[in-house]
């Protein structure tokens, strides 16, 4: 394939034209406008009045920095838990167990639920009086009075994270399970002959084989989790007292609730830069295979 010299053919442009027209209209134009808007009130005063004031305000704003830290906390915790739980379940499903198909379907099921609905269901379970969680903990003798999972600023983030982990880890599990199944049997057989322990097999065969997939799943998950909006919005709307206001929620509220278009755009641009920085290795890795 590689040795065959392919000639330049401009017909290709016609085939990709509709795709790039849509990308230009729905992604390109809004992106450019958002970047411009973060420097000037373009919607009211046009392109004059360029200023760095909005970024200056941003970098002096504790609300922004707290939101940034919260985003790191939310993304870090959910991605780490997705990975750990995803790997453990993938390993369990890859071992010689009965009813594997059944367990596999059950393991994937939460991921099939839209994140908005996952948020609603968990909010229902977290309900202080009529929810399942407080009742279960009460019956087990672990709590004496109802816990306000979503109204207590200190508990709300872990509660939201738990709901997200429930929905999010099956994707990582699916990717890693596919990776596990692709590891050649011979490698394990050779290790057996050499008398390797299960731990050694895991460290020197399983993990190195999974490494590229773990990397890809991590990057994809970081990007998705940083953009997460619906689950948090239906559970808390970023509250109470901003306790779950991650950057995507902050930017949305600034734009659509308070109409601070310039400030909201600056927040979104920072968010986009973070995501692109994280995503570039992923794009490189994929482009190399073209």
């Amino acid at each position: 394939m590689k040795t065959k010299q392919r000639s330049v053919d401009f017909t290709g442009y016609w085939f990709i034209l509709p795709c790039f027209l849509l990308l230009l209209g729905v992604l390109g134009f809004p992106m450019v406008m958002a970047v411009l808007n973060s420097f000037a009130p373009i919607w009211t005063k046009g392109l004059s009045n360029f200023t760095l004031a909005y970024y200056r305000k941003l970098f002096n704003d504790p609300i922004f920095f707290n939101s940034l830290l919260r985003t790191v906390y939310f993304v870090g915790a959910t991605v780490a838990l997705h990975l750990v739980l995803g790997l453990l379940v993938a390993l369990a499903l890859n071992s010689a167990i009965r009813a594997r198909r059944f367990f596999r379907v059950v393991a994937i099921l939460p991921w099939t639920v839209p994140d908005v609905i996952a948020g609603l269901v968990w909010a229902c379970m977290y309900d202080p009086l009529s929810g399942l969680l407080n009742d279960a903990l009460h019956r087990l003798g672990l709590i004496a009075s109802p816990v306000e999972w979503l109204a207590n600023p200190r508990l709300v983030m872990p509660s939201v994270i738990l709901a997200d982990v429930w929905r999010g880890y099956p994707f990582v599990m699916l990717v890693l399970l596919a990776g596990l199944q692709a590891i050649p049997r011979e490698q394990y057989e050779a290790a057996k002959v050499d008398g390797a322990s299960a731990l050694h097999e895991f460290l020197y065969i399983t993990l190195p084989n999974l490494k590229p997939l773990i990397a890809i799943a991590t990057i994809l998950d970081i990007i998705w989790q940083t953009r997460r909006f619906g689950l948090i919005w239906v559970m808390t709307e970023g509250g109470p007292a901003r306790a779950t206001e991650i950057l995507s929620v902050l930017a949305y509220r600034q734009y659509f609730k308070f109409f601070n278009f310039e400030y909201a755009s600056a927040i979104s641009v920072v968010l986009a830069l973070i995501l692109l920085a994280i995503g570039i290795p992923y794009i490189r890795a994929i482009s190399r295979r073209i």
Binding site: F10, W14, I16, L22, L27, C124, W233
Partner: protein, 278 residues
């Protein structure tokens, strides 16, 4: 040695049992709540199994008293349209990238892949302004175009992968028979990449179905709302009526659940850029 192996096996099953409970409890609670009466939901202590399972309070009321059927219809219309546009345009682009070498090809592929990284909150504001200017705010067309495009990178990339596996000789034979490039694409490639197109249709459908942000920002009339938006509005009312909300959630979660289970292996392949081969 045998004892240890048994212990490990026991540990694996115990772990899977916990996972079973963790994964299924929310589904159980959603179904259970949807079958209760509003009075029973507020009983203290809460009942785990509905005393008298009933469809009257949750399902009937959410279908008869709220705009839920309308939301469901809207979501179906918007998601299906977006899915077909995304797949069709994605297949054309996939063919362009798979079969032709032209200046800027790898740069454009880079753009295509990078566009997946952009956060929705960056785009949705100016897109909203743009729609308002051309009179498409609060319309389904604005939503359909948004969802078609948001899923395009995935569709194009995934279908390029499928088209790569179709031998060049097949379209060359069609060209020799006097077909144009477009004809060759439609007659020869289309039938051979049907599984890939089914996968991208479903994927785009699911993304559009599950979205909240874009529907929240681009529509305002209640009769234009999608299921996720409609349900999220039920929860922010003064008093949440859980049986109705959970009944709506069960209905809204049903189509994606079926589609996901059907699609899982393609999804993993598409999202990891072919790093996993199943």
């Amino acid at each position: 040695m045998a004892m240890r192996a048994l212990l490990i096996r026991g540990g694996v099953y115990l772990f899977l049992f916990f996972i079973l409970v963790f994964n299924l409890t929310p589904f159980f609670w959603m179904l259970s709540t949807s079958l209760k009466t509003d009075a029973e939901v507020h009983a203290i202590p809460p009942t785990w199994w509905p005393r008298q399972p009933t469809l009257e309070e949750g399902y009937k009321k959410v279908l008869m008293w709220t705009n839920f059927p309308r939301y469901f219809l809207n979501s179906t219309l918007v998601s299906l349209s977006a899915a077909f546009i995304s797949t069709l345009v994605g297949a054309l682009a996939g063919y362009g990238f798979s079969r032709f070498y032209f200046p800027g090809r790898s740069f454009l592929i880079g753009i295509l892949l990078a566009s997946q990284m952009l956060p929705g909150v960056l785009l949705v504001g100016p897109y909203f302004k743009m729609l308002a200017k051309i009179g498409l705010y609060d319309s389904h067309l604005g939503l359909i175009l948004a969802f078609s495009t948001l899923t395009l990178p995935f569709s194009a990339w995934m279908l390029k992968g499928f088209i790569d596996t179709v031998p060049h000789e097949l379209d060359e034979a069609a060209l020799l028979d006097g077909c144009t490039r477009l004809h060759a694409f439609i007659r020869v490639i289309f039938p051979l990449i049907t599984p890939g197109m089914v996968a991208t249709v479903i994927f785009a459908f699911l993304l559009a179905w599950g979205d909240l942000l874009w529907a929240l920002c681009l529509t305002t009339t209640d009769s234009m709302a999608t299921v996720t938006l409609g349900l999220s509005r039920l929860v922010t009312q003064f008093r949440v009526i859980w049986p109705q909300l959970m009944a709506g959630s069960v209905i809204a979660a049903f189509p994606p659940m079926l589609l996901y289970l059907f699609l899982q292996k393609y999804l993993v392949r598409g999202l990891t850029g072919g790093a996993v081969k199943e």
